[in-house]
Symmetry: C2
Subunit: 210 residues, 2 copies
Protein backbone atom coordinates (compact mmCIF):
# COMPACT_ATOMS: atom_id res chain seq x y z
CA UNK A 1 0.00 0.00 0.00
CA UNK A 2 1.40 3.37 -1.03
CA UNK A 3 0.81 6.81 0.45
CA UNK A 4 -1.22 8.83 -2.03
CA UNK A 5 -1.98 12.51 -1.69
CA UNK A 6 -5.69 13.09 -1.15
CA UNK A 7 -7.35 13.52 -4.52
CA UNK A 8 -8.95 16.86 -3.70
CA UNK A 9 -5.71 18.42 -2.51
CA UNK A 10 -3.83 17.11 -5.53
CA UNK A 11 -6.36 18.45 -8.02
CA UNK A 12 -6.60 21.92 -6.49
CA UNK A 13 -3.36 22.45 -4.57
CA UNK A 14 -4.02 26.14 -3.88
CA UNK A 15 -7.77 25.85 -3.49
CA UNK A 16 -10.11 26.03 -0.53
CA UNK A 17 -9.78 22.31 0.22
CA UNK A 18 -6.01 22.59 0.47
CA UNK A 19 -6.26 25.68 2.68
CA UNK A 20 -8.74 23.91 4.96
CA UNK A 21 -6.47 20.89 5.22
CA UNK A 22 -3.46 23.09 6.02
CA UNK A 23 -5.42 24.94 8.71
CA UNK A 24 -6.66 21.74 10.31
CA UNK A 25 -3.23 20.06 10.25
CA UNK A 26 -1.59 23.18 11.73
CA UNK A 27 -4.22 23.21 14.49
CA UNK A 28 -3.62 19.51 15.14
CA UNK A 29 0.09 20.15 15.54
CA UNK A 30 -0.52 23.04 17.93
CA UNK A 31 -2.93 20.97 20.01
CA UNK A 32 -0.41 18.13 20.17
CA UNK A 33 2.27 20.52 21.40
CA UNK A 34 -0.09 22.07 23.93
CA UNK A 35 -1.76 18.99 25.39
CA UNK A 36 -0.14 15.89 23.89
CA UNK A 37 -1.95 13.04 22.22
CA UNK A 38 -3.99 12.23 25.32
CA UNK A 39 -5.62 15.67 25.16
CA UNK A 40 -6.29 15.73 21.40
CA UNK A 41 -9.92 15.85 20.25
CA UNK A 42 -11.61 16.70 16.94
CA UNK A 43 -13.60 19.38 18.79
CA UNK A 44 -10.45 21.21 19.94
CA UNK A 45 -8.84 20.99 16.51
CA UNK A 46 -11.98 22.31 14.83
CA UNK A 47 -12.21 25.21 17.25
CA UNK A 48 -8.55 26.16 16.89
CA UNK A 49 -8.54 25.91 13.09
CA UNK A 50 -11.70 27.96 12.61
CA UNK A 51 -13.04 25.61 9.91
CA UNK A 52 -16.65 24.51 9.64
CA UNK A 53 -17.49 22.13 12.44
CA UNK A 54 -18.45 19.21 10.18
CA UNK A 55 -15.26 19.27 8.09
CA UNK A 56 -12.79 17.37 10.29
CA UNK A 57 -15.45 14.79 11.16
CA UNK A 58 -16.29 14.22 7.50
CA UNK A 59 -12.72 14.24 6.21
CA UNK A 60 -10.60 12.59 8.93
CA UNK A 61 -13.29 10.88 11.03
CA UNK A 62 -10.97 10.24 14.02
CA UNK A 63 -8.07 11.76 15.91
CA UNK A 64 -5.95 8.88 14.61
CA UNK A 65 -6.77 9.84 11.02
CA UNK A 66 -5.75 13.45 11.66
CA UNK A 67 -2.45 12.51 13.27
CA UNK A 68 -1.52 10.12 10.47
CA UNK A 69 -2.32 12.74 7.81
CA UNK A 70 -0.14 15.25 9.67
CA UNK A 71 2.72 12.78 9.87
CA UNK A 72 2.45 11.95 6.18
CA UNK A 73 2.78 15.66 5.42
CA UNK A 74 5.79 16.08 7.73
CA UNK A 75 7.49 12.97 6.39
CA UNK A 76 7.13 14.31 2.88
CA UNK A 77 8.46 17.77 3.71
CA UNK A 78 10.99 17.40 6.46
CA UNK A 79 13.39 14.63 5.55
CA UNK A 80 15.29 15.38 2.34
CA UNK A 81 17.26 12.52 0.80
CA UNK A 82 21.01 13.33 0.82
CA UNK A 83 23.12 12.94 -2.32
CA UNK A 84 26.77 13.58 -1.40
CA UNK A 85 28.33 11.13 -3.85
CA UNK A 86 29.35 8.70 -1.09
CA UNK A 87 27.25 6.01 0.57
CA UNK A 88 28.90 6.55 3.96
CA UNK A 89 28.23 10.28 3.90
CA UNK A 90 24.69 9.86 2.56
CA UNK A 91 23.76 7.45 5.38
CA UNK A 92 25.41 9.73 7.95
CA UNK A 93 23.52 12.78 6.69
CA UNK A 94 20.22 10.85 6.60
CA UNK A 95 20.66 9.68 10.22
CA UNK A 96 21.57 13.18 11.42
CA UNK A 97 18.47 14.59 9.70
CA UNK A 98 16.15 12.05 11.35
CA UNK A 99 17.70 12.64 14.79
CA UNK A 100 17.53 16.43 14.34
CA UNK A 101 13.85 16.14 13.37
CA UNK A 102 13.03 14.19 16.53
CA UNK A 103 15.01 16.55 18.73
CA UNK A 104 12.30 19.09 17.98
CA UNK A 105 9.71 18.81 20.75
CA UNK A 106 6.82 19.21 18.28
CA UNK A 107 8.08 16.37 16.07
CA UNK A 108 8.68 14.17 19.10
CA UNK A 109 5.17 14.87 20.46
CA UNK A 110 3.80 14.10 17.02
CA UNK A 111 5.56 10.78 16.57
CA UNK A 112 4.62 9.76 20.10
CA UNK A 113 1.02 10.55 19.24
CA UNK A 114 1.23 8.60 16.01
CA UNK A 115 2.69 5.53 17.71
CA UNK A 116 0.02 5.69 20.42
CA UNK A 117 -2.61 5.91 17.70
CA UNK A 118 -1.06 3.02 15.77
CA UNK A 119 -1.05 0.79 18.86
CA UNK A 120 -4.71 1.53 19.46
CA UNK A 121 -6.26 1.64 16.00
CA UNK A 122 -5.68 -0.86 13.16
CA UNK A 123 -6.46 1.91 10.64
CA UNK A 124 -3.81 4.20 12.13
CA UNK A 125 -1.37 1.28 12.30
CA UNK A 126 -1.78 0.58 8.58
CA UNK A 127 -1.37 4.25 7.70
CA UNK A 128 1.70 4.70 9.92
CA UNK A 129 3.33 1.59 8.45
CA UNK A 130 2.64 3.01 4.97
CA UNK A 131 4.27 6.34 5.89
CA UNK A 132 7.38 4.54 7.08
CA UNK A 133 7.48 2.21 4.06
CA UNK A 134 7.24 5.25 1.77
CA UNK A 135 10.06 7.05 3.60
CA UNK A 136 12.26 3.96 3.31
CA UNK A 137 11.34 3.63 -0.37
CA UNK A 138 12.37 7.24 -0.99
CA UNK A 139 15.62 6.83 0.97
CA UNK A 140 16.47 3.64 -0.90
CA UNK A 141 17.60 5.96 -3.71
CA UNK A 142 20.79 6.37 -1.65
CA UNK A 143 21.48 2.66 -1.98
CA UNK A 144 20.52 2.55 -5.66
CA UNK A 145 23.11 5.26 -6.39
CA UNK A 146 25.72 3.39 -4.33
CA UNK A 147 25.04 0.26 -6.39
CA UNK A 148 25.40 2.32 -9.60
CA UNK A 149 28.76 3.63 -8.34
CA UNK A 150 29.87 0.09 -7.50
CA UNK A 151 30.00 0.73 -3.74
CA UNK A 152 27.45 -2.03 -3.03
CA UNK A 153 26.56 -5.25 -4.86
CA UNK A 154 23.45 -5.31 -7.09
CA UNK A 155 20.35 -6.55 -5.32
CA UNK A 156 21.12 -4.75 -2.04
CA UNK A 157 17.77 -4.02 -0.34
CA UNK A 158 17.72 -0.22 -0.17
CA UNK A 159 14.58 0.04 1.97
CA UNK A 160 16.13 -2.38 4.48
CA UNK A 161 19.31 -0.27 4.67
CA UNK A 162 17.19 2.84 5.23
CA UNK A 163 15.23 1.01 7.94
CA UNK A 164 18.51 -0.02 9.57
CA UNK A 165 19.55 3.64 9.74
CA UNK A 166 16.24 4.63 11.32
CA UNK A 167 15.78 1.71 13.72
CA UNK A 168 18.29 2.78 16.42
CA UNK A 169 16.89 6.33 16.33
CA UNK A 170 13.31 5.12 16.89
CA UNK A 171 14.63 2.65 19.51
CA UNK A 172 16.15 5.57 21.42
CA UNK A 173 12.89 7.51 21.14
CA UNK A 174 10.36 4.77 21.95
CA UNK A 175 12.29 2.09 23.86
CA UNK A 176 15.46 3.40 25.53
CA UNK A 177 13.60 6.76 25.95
CA UNK A 178 16.76 8.88 25.74
CA UNK A 179 17.72 12.06 23.90
CA UNK A 180 18.28 11.99 20.13
CA UNK A 181 21.90 13.07 20.28
CA UNK A 182 24.19 13.00 17.25
CA UNK A 183 26.10 10.02 18.66
CA UNK A 184 23.04 7.80 18.27
CA UNK A 185 22.64 8.95 14.68
CA UNK A 186 26.32 8.57 13.81
CA UNK A 187 26.43 5.06 15.25
CA UNK A 188 23.21 4.13 13.45
CA UNK A 189 24.65 5.27 10.12
CA UNK A 190 28.04 3.65 10.71
CA UNK A 191 26.42 0.35 11.73
CA UNK A 192 24.10 0.31 8.70
CA UNK A 193 27.05 1.14 6.45
CA UNK A 194 29.22 -1.66 7.88
CA UNK A 195 26.33 -4.11 7.64
CA UNK A 196 25.52 -3.14 4.03
CA UNK A 197 29.18 -3.47 2.98
CA UNK A 198 29.37 -6.90 4.59
CA UNK A 199 26.35 -8.06 2.53
CA UNK A 200 23.74 -8.26 5.30
CA UNK A 201 21.14 -6.56 3.08
CA UNK A 202 22.07 -8.41 -0.11
CA UNK A 203 20.25 -11.68 -0.76
CA UNK A 204 22.52 -14.74 -0.95
CA UNK A 205 21.11 -15.44 -4.43
CA UNK A 206 20.89 -11.97 -6.00
CA UNK A 207 19.03 -11.35 -9.25
CA UNK A 208 21.40 -11.93 -12.18
CA UNK A 209 21.66 -9.83 -15.34
CA UNK A 210 18.77 -10.33 -17.77
CA UNK B 1 18.98 3.64 37.64
CA UNK B 2 18.83 -0.12 38.12
CA UNK B 3 15.81 -2.38 38.38
CA UNK B 4 15.60 -3.74 41.89
CA UNK B 5 13.21 -6.47 42.98
CA UNK B 6 10.62 -5.09 45.37
CA UNK B 7 11.93 -5.41 48.90
CA UNK B 8 8.94 -7.35 50.22
CA UNK B 9 9.05 -9.94 47.46
CA UNK B 10 12.80 -10.35 47.86
CA UNK B 11 12.61 -10.86 51.62
CA UNK B 12 9.76 -13.38 51.53
CA UNK B 13 9.86 -14.91 48.07
CA UNK B 14 7.30 -17.63 48.85
CA UNK B 15 5.17 -15.57 51.21
CA UNK B 16 1.76 -13.99 50.93
CA UNK B 17 3.15 -10.80 49.40
CA UNK B 18 4.82 -12.73 46.60
CA UNK B 19 1.66 -14.78 45.98
CA UNK B 20 -0.43 -11.63 45.84
CA UNK B 21 1.97 -10.03 43.38
CA UNK B 22 1.97 -13.13 41.19
CA UNK B 23 -1.85 -13.22 41.20
CA UNK B 24 -2.13 -9.54 40.32
CA UNK B 25 0.49 -9.71 37.56
CA UNK B 26 -1.16 -12.81 36.07
CA UNK B 27 -4.52 -11.02 36.12
CA UNK B 28 -2.94 -7.98 34.47
CA UNK B 29 -1.59 -10.15 31.69
CA UNK B 30 -4.96 -11.84 31.15
CA UNK B 31 -6.75 -8.49 31.04
CA UNK B 32 -4.21 -7.17 28.50
CA UNK B 33 -4.79 -10.20 26.29
CA UNK B 34 -8.56 -9.90 26.64
CA UNK B 35 -9.04 -6.15 26.17
CA UNK B 36 -5.67 -4.57 25.37
CA UNK B 37 -4.10 -1.63 27.14
CA UNK B 38 -7.01 0.68 26.35
CA UNK B 39 -9.35 -1.56 28.37
CA UNK B 40 -7.06 -2.11 31.37
CA UNK B 41 -8.19 -0.79 34.74
CA UNK B 42 -7.12 -1.47 38.33
CA UNK B 43 -10.73 -2.45 39.10
CA UNK B 44 -10.76 -5.23 36.49
CA UNK B 45 -7.35 -6.53 37.57
CA UNK B 46 -8.40 -6.58 41.22
CA UNK B 47 -11.62 -8.42 40.43
CA UNK B 48 -9.89 -11.03 38.25
CA UNK B 49 -7.05 -11.64 40.72
CA UNK B 50 -9.30 -12.05 43.75
CA UNK B 51 -6.99 -10.01 46.00
CA UNK B 52 -8.19 -7.45 48.51
CA UNK B 53 -9.53 -4.41 46.72
CA UNK B 54 -7.05 -1.96 48.26
CA UNK B 55 -3.92 -3.92 47.42
CA UNK B 56 -3.30 -2.94 43.77
CA UNK B 57 -4.12 0.69 44.55
CA UNK B 58 -1.67 0.76 47.45
CA UNK B 59 1.09 -1.18 45.76
CA UNK B 60 1.03 -0.16 42.08
CA UNK B 61 -1.10 3.00 42.24
CA UNK B 62 -1.69 3.14 38.46
CA UNK B 63 -2.23 0.92 35.45
CA UNK B 64 1.16 2.11 34.18
CA UNK B 65 2.83 0.87 37.37
CA UNK B 66 1.23 -2.55 36.98
CA UNK B 67 2.27 -2.91 33.36
CA UNK B 68 5.85 -1.91 34.07
CA UNK B 69 6.11 -4.38 36.96
CA UNK B 70 4.78 -7.12 34.71
CA UNK B 71 7.28 -6.28 32.00
CA UNK B 72 10.15 -6.27 34.48
CA UNK B 73 9.15 -9.76 35.53
CA UNK B 74 8.87 -11.00 31.94
CA UNK B 75 12.18 -9.42 30.95
CA UNK B 76 13.86 -11.19 33.83
CA UNK B 77 12.35 -14.59 33.08
CA UNK B 78 11.88 -14.83 29.36
CA UNK B 79 15.10 -13.78 27.65
CA UNK B 80 18.03 -16.01 28.61
CA UNK B 81 21.51 -14.82 27.61
CA UNK B 82 23.07 -17.24 25.08
CA UNK B 83 26.60 -18.57 25.59
CA UNK B 84 27.55 -20.60 22.51
CA UNK B 85 31.27 -19.77 22.48
CA UNK B 86 30.96 -17.55 19.39
CA UNK B 87 29.91 -13.90 19.20
CA UNK B 88 28.11 -14.38 15.89
CA UNK B 89 26.07 -17.30 17.22
CA UNK B 90 25.37 -15.58 20.55
CA UNK B 91 23.98 -12.48 18.82
CA UNK B 92 21.96 -14.63 16.42
CA UNK B 93 20.45 -16.64 19.29
CA UNK B 94 19.68 -13.49 21.26
CA UNK B 95 17.88 -11.89 18.30
CA UNK B 96 15.86 -15.05 17.60
CA UNK B 97 14.82 -15.20 21.27
CA UNK B 98 13.61 -11.59 21.27
CA UNK B 99 11.69 -12.06 18.02
CA UNK B 100 10.17 -15.33 19.26
CA UNK B 101 9.06 -13.59 22.45
CA UNK B 102 7.28 -10.85 20.51
CA UNK B 103 5.66 -13.30 18.14
CA UNK B 104 3.60 -14.40 21.13
CA UNK B 105 0.40 -12.34 21.08
CA UNK B 106 0.44 -11.89 24.87
CA UNK B 107 4.00 -10.51 24.83
CA UNK B 108 3.19 -8.25 21.90
CA UNK B 109 0.06 -6.93 23.65
CA UNK B 110 2.15 -6.38 26.75
CA UNK B 111 4.93 -4.43 25.08
CA UNK B 112 2.39 -2.35 23.17
CA UNK B 113 0.75 -1.56 26.50
CA UNK B 114 4.07 -0.68 28.07
CA UNK B 115 5.04 1.66 25.24
CA UNK B 116 1.64 3.34 25.37
CA UNK B 117 2.09 3.77 29.12
CA UNK B 118 5.62 5.12 28.66
CA UNK B 119 4.46 7.71 26.12
CA UNK B 120 1.76 8.89 28.49
CA UNK B 121 3.37 8.78 31.93
CA UNK B 122 6.87 10.01 32.87
CA UNK B 123 6.97 7.44 35.69
CA UNK B 124 6.24 4.58 33.29
CA UNK B 125 8.75 6.00 30.82
CA UNK B 126 11.52 5.96 33.43
CA UNK B 127 10.65 2.42 34.51
CA UNK B 128 10.46 1.11 30.93
CA UNK B 129 13.81 2.72 30.07
CA UNK B 130 15.28 1.05 33.18
CA UNK B 131 13.93 -2.36 32.15
CA UNK B 132 15.55 -1.99 28.73
CA UNK B 133 18.83 -0.70 30.18
CA UNK B 134 18.93 -3.71 32.52
CA UNK B 135 18.26 -6.15 29.68
CA UNK B 136 21.05 -4.58 27.65
CA UNK B 137 23.35 -4.68 30.68
CA UNK B 138 22.66 -8.41 31.13
CA UNK B 139 23.15 -9.12 27.42
CA UNK B 140 26.42 -7.17 27.38
CA UNK B 141 27.93 -10.32 28.95
CA UNK B 142 27.94 -11.70 25.39
CA UNK B 143 30.27 -8.90 24.31
CA UNK B 144 32.45 -9.17 27.41
CA UNK B 145 33.06 -12.84 26.63
CA UNK B 146 33.83 -12.01 22.99
CA UNK B 147 36.40 -9.46 24.17
CA UNK B 148 37.94 -12.09 26.50
CA UNK B 149 38.17 -14.50 23.54
CA UNK B 150 39.81 -11.80 21.42
CA UNK B 151 36.89 -11.56 18.97
CA UNK B 152 36.32 -7.87 19.71
CA UNK B 153 38.64 -5.07 20.88
CA UNK B 154 38.66 -4.09 24.57
CA UNK B 155 36.34 -1.20 25.33
CA UNK B 156 33.56 -2.39 22.99
CA UNK B 157 30.27 -1.09 24.40
CA UNK B 158 28.34 -4.29 25.16
CA UNK B 159 25.04 -2.60 26.03
CA UNK B 160 25.20 -0.69 22.74
CA UNK B 161 25.76 -3.93 20.80
CA UNK B 162 22.79 -5.50 22.60
CA UNK B 163 20.69 -2.43 21.81
CA UNK B 164 21.70 -2.70 18.15
CA UNK B 165 20.44 -6.29 18.09
CA UNK B 166 17.11 -5.27 19.63
CA UNK B 167 16.51 -2.02 17.71
CA UNK B 168 15.40 -3.51 14.35
CA UNK B 169 13.09 -5.93 16.19
CA UNK B 170 11.37 -3.11 18.09
CA UNK B 171 11.33 -1.04 14.88
CA UNK B 172 9.42 -3.83 13.16
CA UNK B 173 7.02 -4.04 16.09
CA UNK B 174 6.38 -0.33 16.76
CA UNK B 175 7.26 1.47 13.54
CA UNK B 176 7.12 -0.75 10.45
CA UNK B 177 4.29 -2.69 12.22
CA UNK B 178 5.12 -6.01 10.59
CA UNK B 179 5.45 -9.59 11.81
CA UNK B 180 8.48 -10.63 13.89
CA UNK B 181 9.77 -13.20 11.44
CA UNK B 182 13.16 -14.85 11.82
CA UNK B 183 14.53 -12.88 8.86
CA UNK B 184 14.23 -9.62 10.82
CA UNK B 185 16.06 -11.22 13.74
CA UNK B 186 18.80 -12.77 11.62
CA UNK B 187 19.45 -9.49 9.81
CA UNK B 188 19.48 -7.59 13.11
CA UNK B 189 22.08 -9.97 14.55
CA UNK B 190 24.19 -10.03 11.38
CA UNK B 191 24.13 -6.22 11.15
CA UNK B 192 25.12 -5.77 14.82
CA UNK B 193 27.89 -8.34 14.37
CA UNK B 194 29.29 -6.63 11.26
CA UNK B 195 29.09 -3.23 12.97
CA UNK B 196 30.79 -4.49 16.16
CA UNK B 197 33.62 -6.12 14.15
CA UNK B 198 34.16 -2.91 12.21
CA UNK B 199 34.57 -0.96 15.47
CA UNK B 200 31.32 1.03 15.47
CA UNK B 201 30.76 0.27 19.17
CA UNK B 202 34.38 0.75 20.21
CA UNK B 203 35.41 4.27 21.22
CA UNK B 204 38.15 5.79 19.05
CA UNK B 205 40.20 6.31 22.23
CA UNK B 206 39.62 3.10 24.21
CA UNK B 207 40.67 2.74 27.83
CA UNK B 208 44.27 1.49 27.94
CA UNK B 209 45.71 -1.12 30.30
CA UNK B 210 46.20 0.14 33.88
Amino acid sequence: MGVKPRATGAVRPGGRTARTRAAVLAATQEELEAAGYAGLTLEKVTERSGVHLATPYRRWRTVEGLVVDLLTEMGRNEIPIPDTGSLKDDLGALALEIAALYRQPRARALVEGVVTAALRSPEASTAWAAVIAERNRLASRIVDRAVERGELPPGTDGAAVSGAVGAPIYYRLLVARGPEDDEVAERAAAAAYAAALSGVFTPADPPGPP
